[in-house]
Structures are given as C-alpha cells and as structure tokens.
Symmetry: C2
Subunit: 758 residues, 2 copies
C-alpha cells in the first residue's frame, strides 16, 4: 500500500463541530407546521386479556385529534425477521408484557395527549405470567400464544462431529451454567420519530439503523402499503447500539399521521425506552467443554435458553448466533448446540452490540479459564493453541481472510505484563477473546451488498449518497476519508447526505458490523468511478494521456510534470458542462461472495466477507469488604484489517469496553411481580467516565482482502469479550468464579461469604 | 418511426388529479414550524432620493423579528444577465419606480408585518421621472443612473446587406410606427417563496422556472455565497409565462431567513405582482419594409425603443430579439436594426411568453399586409413566397431542421376558408406568422444542454430526475411519456421528482421554449440507458441474447417467443440486488451543436437546435357602434416537429392564443402621474373563457432531426402572431389599421370616427 493522505490518519468526526455547536439536527430538533404529539397507552400488566377498550372520553377531550386501537390498524403482522407472526402494531385481545402497546393518541400537545391516555378505559382480565425463560418451558407455564401449545418462539440445533465421543476422549471436561442479564442499549436519544402523510405517501423521519430494509420493507408490509409510497429520512442519530431497528412506535406514529392528516411526532420517555425498547436477550447457558492436556479443545456442547420477550423482533437470530459464532475463532471439530428462543412476559428482545455471540463468550471464555487451570496451562497459551489463522475455513464454513488473532493475544499479553500480573496476588488479571462478523447475509439473503454514489458538483464538492446509516459511530467520517483519498481532494471537500430512501440507493443499514466494510467498498468504488470520469476531462484540458495523470491535494496534474496542472474544481465544472449540466456521478456497487445456509444450519456457509478478532485483558482489584470490583486497567487488542481512522477505531474500542463493563458489573433490567423496577437512570445505573479504567487500545493491522483499503469491522467485537475478561480477572483476584451477570458487589460479596446466589 | 404506445397519444396531465383534488403542494401549502411572514416596503414614488430611513419604531413592534434595509444586504449586484450592475437587493440611495424595494420586515404574522411596514419612516426627496422610453432618450430627460450620462441600458445593432440600396430597388416601401403595451403575465399564483437558513446553508422554496441557473447561480453571487450552500426546491408552480425567473423577493426572503434563523415565507399581493413583477417590455417600433411586385421582401429596417424598466432583468435581450428573430422565418438579405433598451421609471421588465419577437411581429406582419394590398397580392401568398424551408440556413445563421412553414400557412388558409371569408365584408380575416426557438444558448454560453436521470426502483417504478422545471405547462407529462415509451412500461409507472438542486442535475430551466426538446432528449437517453441495463439482467433471466429482447407493456420478452417473458418489476428488483442495492440509474446527457455570436451580432450564429413555426388566422367582427372586436374564430396551425402529446400541444396553443388575445385587445398596465392605475384584477382585465373564440388548432408534423422523437417547441410560438393576426383581421373588417396595443374598443372607435389616438 502506498502513502495515504487520509486513510490511516486520525481524523475528528466530520460532523463533530455541528454536534458540538448544537447545529446538528436530530428528530427532536425538527418541528413541522401543525405537528401533533403522539403518545402510547401501554399495558400496566405483564399478561392480561383485553376485555374492552372505551376510547370515547379520550376522543372527546379538547385537543385530541385521534385515538387508535388494534381495530384502527391494518391488522397485518410486523414480523421483521419473516419468522413468527406474533406482532401486531397494537395489541389484539391480549397484552403480553408491561409496556405492551394498547392504544395511541395524537393531540395538539404532550399534556393533552397524556391527559387523553388517562381517559382511555381499558378493562383487563389479568393472567398468570412468566418472566424467566427456563420457567417458561415448564409444563404448566402460562402460554403467551395459546395456539402454539408451548412458549418456544424458535429452536436452533447444531450437530457437528461426535461430541459424546470427543468428551470421552478429553482429558478434562467442565460443564457449567451461566446466566447473562438484560442490559438496555441506553442511547442518549430515546426512540423517537415523526411521520407525515400527504397524497397517499408516508414520510417517516426516524433515527433508524436500517432505513431501507427495516423501515421501508418491514413497515410497508405491516402498513399494507406499496414500499414505493414510503419515504424514510434519517437525520442525525443520538446513539443506537442495535436498538434502533424496527420499532412499533414508528408504525403507530405513521398510523396517527395517516389518521389525522397532520404531521405527528413521538418520543419515548426514558421509562418507556427501558420498559418497551427491545433490550438485550438474557440467556441461561449450559456449556460443556472438553479439553486435552495439550490445550486442544476437543468438544463444545451448549444449551441456550434465551428470552425472546413477548414477541419476535430479532431474538431468535441472537440465540442462534450464540449457538455457532465462537467456532469462528477456535478450531473445533465436535460441536453440539441446542438453542431455544423462549417467549416470556417481558419486553421484546432486540439487537444490542455483540448480538448473541457475547453471551456465549461469557460462558465459553470462563470455562476455558477453568480448564486452563485444570490442565495447568497459561490461559493465554490455551487460546493460542486453538485460535484460527488467516486464510483458514472454519467448522461451519466461515472463510477467514485476515485473522491475526494470535498476534492480538500476544500483544495484549505483552502490554498487560500478563505473567508478572498473574503472579501479583493483590490484583486479578483475566483474558478473554472475541470474534465478530463484518456483515451478515442471513438477514436479507437476496444480497448483502452495498451501493454508493459519489456526486461531484461544479464547485468541486464531492457528495456521498448511500443508504448506509451513520448512527453516531463516525461512519460518515470514514466514508469521507475513503472518498477524499480516492479523489485526491481534502476531507473538507467531501460531505455525506443523510439517508433519504427516496434519493439514496437501497441500503441494508448499520448492523452486524457491516457499514465500514460493505459501504466503504461501495464508496471507494464510486469515488474511483467519479475520478475516472474526471480524469477523462482533465486529460483533454491538460493534453496529457489519462494514464500519466495524478490527483492529489485538490489538483490534477501530469505525473512527470506537476506544473502542468488544473484544479479539481475546474475539472468538475467543465465535466458538468460537457454532459449537459449533469454532475459527475460515480457509482460503486459491492456485493461480497457470501452465502446463507441451505437446508438449515448443518451445512457450511459463509455469511460475512470478513471476520474481526479481539483479545482483552482486564486487570481488577476486588474489595473483599464491599464486593466492589475496581477495574484498574483494561487492554484491548483488535485486529481490524486496516484502521481507516485509528482515532475512531480507538473510540469504538473505548466505548465498547465501557459499555461491556456496564453489563459486566452493574447494568440489568430487573423485574419484580412481573414489572420492571428500575426503568430510569436513577435505578438503572450506567457506568460513567468515573467508572472507566484506563483503556489501552492496541490496533493490529493485517489488510483484509475483502475490505476497503483492507479494513473490516470493529463496532461490536470490542464489546464481545468484556464480561468474560472481567469474570476471569475476578477469579484470578479472589478465586471466586462468577457465572451470573451483572457481577454486582452484592453477588460477589455473597460468593466471598460462601453463599449461593439467589 | 414505429408504433408508439405513449408518444403521439393524448394523455391527461400526470399530476392533473392531484391538482384537481387540491393535493398538489404549492408554496402556499407549505408551512414550516416557527415560520415568519416577510413583507416588503415599496416606494410610493416613481423616482426619489432616499434621504433617511428610520426603522426603529418597526423594530420595537411586538412580533417583529427583523427589519432590513440596503445596509443589511451584502451590497452585491444581482445582475442576472451579467450585463448591467444596476440592481441591488434593496434600494440604495434612490428609488426608481413605484414598487421599488426599500425595506423588508419579518414578523410573526402578516398583520404584524404590515403594521411594521407602516412604522418604517422613509424620508424621500422626489425627483422628476420618465415613463415613456422614447421620452427617456430626450436630452433633458431625468436620468435614472446619473453616472451613465443617459438612459440607455443596452444598445443593439444589426447591419446585413445594403438596406438603402434595397429600399431604392423595391417596388413598394412602407414605414410605420407601432406601439406595444405592457401586459402582465398574470399567473394564478403570484410570486412567492419560502427560505430557511440552517448550519450556513440556505434552502429556498420557490416556484422558479430556472432553479439552477437563475436561483442558485445568480442568487449566490448576489448573496455573496458559495452556490454549493444554496439549495433550491421547486414545488408545484401555479403558472409562470416567463415571470418566474430571478426576483428580488426571493433574495429578500433569504436575507430575512438568514437574519432571523427562522423560516420566512413571502407572498406578493396581486397589487405587488402587477406593480413590481417584471411584466412585458413595451416597445415603440419604427419599421420599414420594402417589397417587390412579385412579393419578395427586399429589405427590413427597424428601430426599436424598448422599455428596460428601472433596472435590468432581461429587457436588453428581449429588445435584441425584436431586432433579429423575424429573419428566422423569412428569407431576407438586407436588414438594418437599431435597438435601444431604455431605462424608465417603471417596473423592471422581464420575460413573457414570446420574449421580444412577438412585439416585432406586430409591426412586421401588419406592414406585410399593408404591402400585400399595395402590390395586389393575397397576403398569404406574400408570406409563402418569403418563408424559409426545412434544411435552410437563415441570414443570421440559424440552421433550420424541420420547418414546414408553408404547410402551416396552407392548412390554416384551408381551414379558415380564407378566400371565401376575405370576400365577406361583414367579417374580417387576418393572417400572421410566428417563429420561435427551441432553446437559446445566448443566456449561458458554457452549454445549452440538459441532463436527466431515470432511476428504476425495485418495484419497477421509474423516476425521472431532472433540473428542468414543470411550471404547470405539462412538462412532466411529456417526460413521463418519453420515459414510458423508451422503457416499455405504462405511464403510471413513471413519476418525475420536483426539482431540488441538491439532488437534480444542473438544469438551465424552462425558458426560451427549451424544456421539451432539451430535457426530452436527456430523458429519452436516460431511459434508453436504464433499459439497456435492465435488458442485460433480463437476458440472464430469460437466457436470451439481449438483441432478441423487447420491452413492452411492462414485460420484457423474447421477440420471437413472447411467452418467454419476465415482468419489468422482477427485472428491476433483480438488477438492484445484483448491484448491491443500487437502483438502476440511466443517465442521459444532451448537448446541442448550438453557438453564440462571437464579436457581436454581425456574425452568423445558431443559438437553438430547432425552430418552430406557426400561421394564425383570426376571424373577427367589429361593432362599429362600440368599437368592440368579437373574435369569431381563430385558426392556429403549428409545425411542432412531432406532437408528443397532441392534447397538450393543443392546450398550449389554446392558452397562447387566448393570452395573445388578451394582450391584443384589452390588457395593459397603465401609468398616470408615474403610478400604475390598474394594479388589480378589477382594473387590469384579463380575457376569460367567455372571451375565448373557438380556437382551431392544427398540428403539422415534420420530425425534427434534433428533437426527442422529432419534437420541438410550442410554448411561445403559439402566442407570437396573435395581435398581428387580429390587427390584420380588424383592418380587413373595417379598413382601420391599428398600430397600438391593446386594440381596445375606445381606440378602435376613435379611429372609426377618423380621430387620432391620444
């Protein structure tokens, strides 16, 4: 790779100044003329039959424009995964979780809307409920969907090799049960949206991660509309972390806009966001691992009981990921997985940075430490002996391009002074690994590509138009760097349009850590195409063969005679006039050679073009009087292919680690009597800067053959191993093996006192 | 040409239903949150020095957000033609016409804004003024721009051949003076706009004919801004007729939005629109024509005194057109023109259907009738003997592709029963011809092309994206027909996006009758490009060579085996997935081989790719007691290349004829004591349906080599000869030669009584 002007350089966010100045426009900054406020009446019960709804008093309230219930909806299922038809826009007959959407109101202001909610008279007949996924499988458990006969929303099995035989042949086998919690994504901006319906066309402003796939296609189905009549506009997004995918509020808002003819805006309170915002799936995992004296992992067996919540958003796929993802980093031959996504009377479970992979890593990486101790081998060495290498194909068919996993372990160990610290009895050190995809074809088998346009205006400004969503993670900065590098112009001459599905290409969106690799490839190709068109024009202006031209620093010039040059702006203008006023538009299409399983999960398949790896080491001190864990230091070594913007990669790592520490040590939505007892930031406590250890990010580069300039994902893998690293460090510090998240002081103290957890 | 599905078919407007239902969104239908209302303080004097402006009382009024005067503007000239630096956004030092913009206010509502205007205290020192262009040339005329030393805004001369010699050699010579009036374009929707300024970016919603050229480029210069920071959005337009080009209200609105940070909307009252809305240039024309006994026109000499109004919008070019356009239809060798665009203390003069050509046709076509009588030849025959034919190049260099002029005259004469009616003494018949361009490179020499994109969505909808403006004339219907024809899909599967300069290609806009030919060629090419891409995909699906595929009625099929077919929608969807979510986007660029004069108007040049012709015959009866002219019947034969939508062509002809009749018989802005006395629809009377004769439209087709499917312009040529045809008919009925427009009953009665006009 040659010298770069932009790629591999630390660059602050291109929209950072607008955000710092308060000029960036989020949904809450947009108000339309005659806009109404929408509010949702939510179920107070975890499970109840709706006997009657009387909306008449609410409808009569002055300032109320519309009240809707199930009967006012198109009565179509939402079903974002195309799997279970268990989700209507508003509850039909039954409510299945506290927070379930029963009715909605559009009124002239928030106060009136809230007053109207109080006037809606819903007669409920409460039903027995179940919160815990394992209990939901019991014979006499209350059924969420009576017709189904059980509470299993989805089942997923894997059988590879012969685990029974492999366990028998193993020198050591450990089987343990782990439980993960239900943390909330906690974006600064809660779910919100605005809808307008004019001339049979719905315009929806929403901070979506997937404006085209999620909103346009899923919502069109649910609203029984031609997708061509739905326009989704994504302004700035105040954080998403997986939460901001398909969501009933946006459908309800659309129906209110359609019903009133006025624009309607809705915004979750923090309570609503926690109570009904698709948090992480909690899993109970029975994991069994067999290992040889030489450190080779012989067999892995797991049973996963995962909470689907009260309806199906993405929990089945999250559970399935827990059943197979770890094999992408460790060489395994014998694997058995039994997975259940189980209906419970809790908030529907959705995507959260790390998907289902990270829950399983808590189990697997904890057991690997336990086995390392049993065979008397350095846990880092046990990992090294099992890690895949670049170019290998995994048990399930994943084709690893770059995969410098061992180098990550080595660098983390070196940076941590691993061996020295392991000797130190006052502190604990724990290592855990994580792996992630860069995109995942499973969710839209038709393709997993990306398209971008780079439009060069007559003033030499390059605009990137893409359907992929910057959700606050810095995507547009990286895209701008890619385009600026390709075009040979300064970063400030590039901007990226907000996603607008009426303008942008269809984009699958920002999830499965796909946006940098997929969209980046498309942007790179589009910029190269635009440059090629511009060089044709420059060739005429300078009277130099195109092959002898270079573009750098906003000039196009003769390679051997740089004085023979023309500004990029001038070439842009002339190019436009030469094509009858048409801007130069470069197109870039990228479609990876990925595949989806045919005939179930037994076959080999490769859902992602590239795979990222990280090795984490937590250094902790445990207060034996309070049970409090102080994370003294945290080392995270990640192989990201090529770091397009190292500052941004480090930002992702730091954010992911801190978010992981929150889950590891303090965050969990809690239910009592079927109801959430901590739906606010007083009771649901997040880590702050004060709680953050020094995080040492180590970037390992090995250019991936599939990535733009060799880059692959970082967004999720940086969270994946955090709780396991902390659990292993706590064990190293105290000899206490924590198997339930979050690892709160209370739980640690109980364990330190030799008591079992409640 | 083969069989067409859409081309050449009568098709109602694609947006007709939305308009009929009131669902089409015009500026007046758009309201933004916290929007302010802007109002302009206009000069009550035709000419005055501004001694002082005190805005303090207005600024203190509750609800007033901003008051601006010249000192709050960027102090740059507007200068849309790039010719005279005589136009600031708000008046500096002097006002030069009643209605001149002195100050502006943004307030919470219209009432407050109007109240604030009253509180602005302007101290004027009134100055002598001049309304009439010839008087403005007199030695002691008041000067509008003292520095200039005279009132000549622009002078234009042509000398070709030897007119003196040619007049001497002519059998008959007539020299006459003609005066045309100042009609107002009278669109249903007055000038209005809305502006918003956010994050250093100006968004302007305006019903502009030329969003890119006029608004983006001219306004950027006047506002001292990077054009890339201006976004212009054109919603539906309620008529334009040449009026809706660059206009100070939009600049003032932009400054108010920039000054307040709030969206600002402004709307002219009808009074403001008439008083300060750039109506048609009135001309005094001294025309002299020499003819031979055989009907050959030997020489044409003209002096044109044209009112520029108080500042330069487009009047100089309008005047110049009067000096040369007629030669595009008649073979001439000896021509002398002296033209003056003269500052007067009247409203600035702008474009109006027919530009400056139509004024001259009133003079020329009247004199040709007078000369026909002198040489005793049928006036239709005199025209026939001088008309150009297809493929000829004119005196000034215009290259005529199709030009079936004689066929138009023949068909009009036949339809009118010309000879029989000429014998009928109770009625009068008059013939006049007109010619027009299809685009005009003079106004943007860099290019005169057009670009369109045709984007095919996964649901098979084709969207046309262009910078050319549908201003109510039906452009988008014709574009949709072109795209539907090329793609082989039904018309309802095509839509056209409203012009948005952030999205659309740079478009020169709708003026000089250019939009059908220029934009139509671009749309045709773009659709062909999109189809080509789709056929590649269909070829794979059907396993048929691309060459053997046909696209018709929404299906793509094997030519020899139509059962082997695939729906257009399916091909569209598969094409999108094949390119990573990228829609199929066809690009079409059209740039005609036109030219601009180098070294002044003496050289030959060809500013338009095609020229349209029309022959009109008016049949009138004149009430000798009242002077009233009753137009009994009107025949208009036009050669339009190919009528893409005959119903729409007829609509243009009918509209043009009726608008021409208004100018011919009743419409004129009138001044008394330097002030307009009829700035409203009570006193400025327009023809209505009741005034409309039966208009017989005859479409003559001769496919033009430059036009899309052979089409060329109709929008302006259909108005060009109307007043001359009526004047000739009045003469035929009464023996009275009317030489002043409008030919009101009062004037005719005076002439009938043998009196001279005042």
């Amino acid at each position: 790779m040659g010298d770069f002007s932009e790629i591999g350089k630390d660059r602050p966010r291109v929209n950072g100044e607008a955000k710092a100045r308060g000029e960036a426009t989020f949904i809450s900054d947009i108000s339309l003329h005659n806009m109404l406020t929408g509010k949702i009446l939510r179920s107070p019960h975890p499970h109840a039959r709706i006997v009657n709804i009387d909306t008449s008093a609410a409808e009569e309230l002055n300032g109320v424009e519309k009240v809707i219930t199930y009967k006012d909806t198109p009565k179509k299922h939402v079903d974002p995964m195309g799997l279970n038809q268990d989700w209507f826009i508003l509850a039909k007959d039954k409510v299945r979780f506290q927070g379930d959407e029963v009715a909605a109101v559009a009124a002239v202001d928030e106060e009136t809307a809230e007053e109207a909610l109080k006037l809606i008279d819903v007669e409920y007949e409460t039903l027995p409920y179940v919160i815990d996924p394992e209990k939901a499988l019991e014979e006499d458990a209350p059924l969420l969907y009576e017709d189904k006969g059980d509470n299993i929303a989805f089942e997923y099995n894997i059988d590879k090799g012969d685990v029974e035989k492999a366990f028998k042949e193993s020198d050591e086998v450990i089987s343990e049960r782990f439980k993960t919690g239900s943390p909330y994504q906690a974006p600064l901006e809660t779910f919100n949206c605005m809808a307008k319906y004019e001339r049979n066309k719905l315009t929806l402003w929403a901070p979506l991660q997937d404006p085209s796939k999620g909103a346009k296609l899923t919502y069109a189905r649910a609203l029984d509309m031609d997708p061509g009549k739905i326009r989704v506009k994504k302004p700035f997004v105040g954080g998403a972390f997986g939460a901001k995918l398909e969501y009933p509020q946006q459908l309800i808002c659309s129906l209110l806009a359609m019903g009133t003819g006025s624009p309607v805006k809705m915004e979750n309170t923090r309570e609503e966001d926690i109570m009904a915002g698709n948090p992480r799936t909690n899993m109970t995992i029975d994991a069994k691992v067999g290992i040889n004296e030489d450190g080779k992992i012989n067999a892995l067996q797991r049973e996963v009981y995962s909470s689907n919540g009260a309806r199906t958003v993405y929990a089945p796929a999250i559970m399935a990921t827990a059943c197979y993802r770890a094999e992408t980093m460790y060489r395994l031959e014998n694997v058995k997985s039994r997975g259940y996504s189980i209906y419970t009377n809790t908030v529907p479970r959705g995507c959260f940075r790390g998907f289902g992979n990270t829950q399983m890593l808590f189990a697997l990486e904890s057991i690997l430490d336990m086995l390392s101790e049993k065979i008397g081998m350095d846990p880092a060495e046990v990992r090294r002996r099992n890690l895949h290498e670049s170019g290998e194909t995994t048990l399930h068919g994943r084709k690893l391009g770059s995969f410098a996993a061992k180098e990550c372990v080595d660098k983390a160990v070196e940076e941590a002074n691993w061996e020295e610290k392991r000797e130190n009895k006052k502190i604990g050190v724990g290592l855990a690994n994580g792996v992630h995809v860069s995109g995942n074809r499973n969710f839209f088998p038709a393709f997993d590509g990306s398209t971008a346009y780079v439009r060069v205006s007559e003033n030499g400004m390059a605009r990137i138009i893409t359907g992929e969503a910057d959700i606050g993670q810095g995507l547009n900065t990286v895209y701008a760097q890619i385009a600026a590098e390709e075009l040979g112009i300064p970063l400030k001459k590039v901007d990226t349009a907000h996603v607008d599905t009426d303008i942008a290409p269809y984009g699958l969106g920002t999830w499965a850590s796909r946006a940098t690799l997929h969209g980046g490839n498309a942007v790179k190709k589009a910029a190269a195409d635009a440059k090629d068109q511009l060089l044709d024009v420059a060739s005429e202006i300078l009277d130099v063969d195109k092959e002898n031209l270079k573009a750098e620093d906003g000039e196009i010039f003769e390679s051997d005679n740089p004085d023979n040059s023309v500004p990029f702006e001038e070439v842009s203008e002339q190019a436009m006039f030469k094509q009858g006023g048409g801007y130069v538009i470069g197109e870039g299409h990228y479609t990876p050679d990925t595949s989806v399983p045919e005939g179930g999960g037994e076959k080999k398949w490769n859902p992602s073009p590239a795979y990222s790896f990280g090795a984490h080491i937590a250094v902790v001190e445990v207060d034996e009087d309070t049970g409090e864990v102080d994370v003294l230091e945290y080392i995270a070594a990640h192989e990201v292919g090529k770091a397009l913007n190292p500052m941004s990669v480090e930002g992702q790592i730091e954010g992911g680690v801190l978010q992981g520490l929150g889950w590891a040590l303090m965050e969990d939505i809690k239910w009592e009597d079927g109801k959430i007892v901590n739906p606010n930031f007083s009771d649901y406590v997040l880590p702050t800067a004060v709680d953050s250890p020094e995080i040492k990010s180590i970037i390992v580069e090995e250019e991936d053959p599939e990535g733009p300039f060799g880059a692959k994902s970082i967004g999720e893998v940086c969270l994946d191993p955090v709780h396991a690293a902390v659990a292993n460090a706590i064990y190293d510090a105290t000899g206490i093996r924590m198997k339930t998240l979050p690892m709160t002081p209370e739980k640690i103290l109980l364990k330190l006192k030799g008591k079992s957890l409640p």
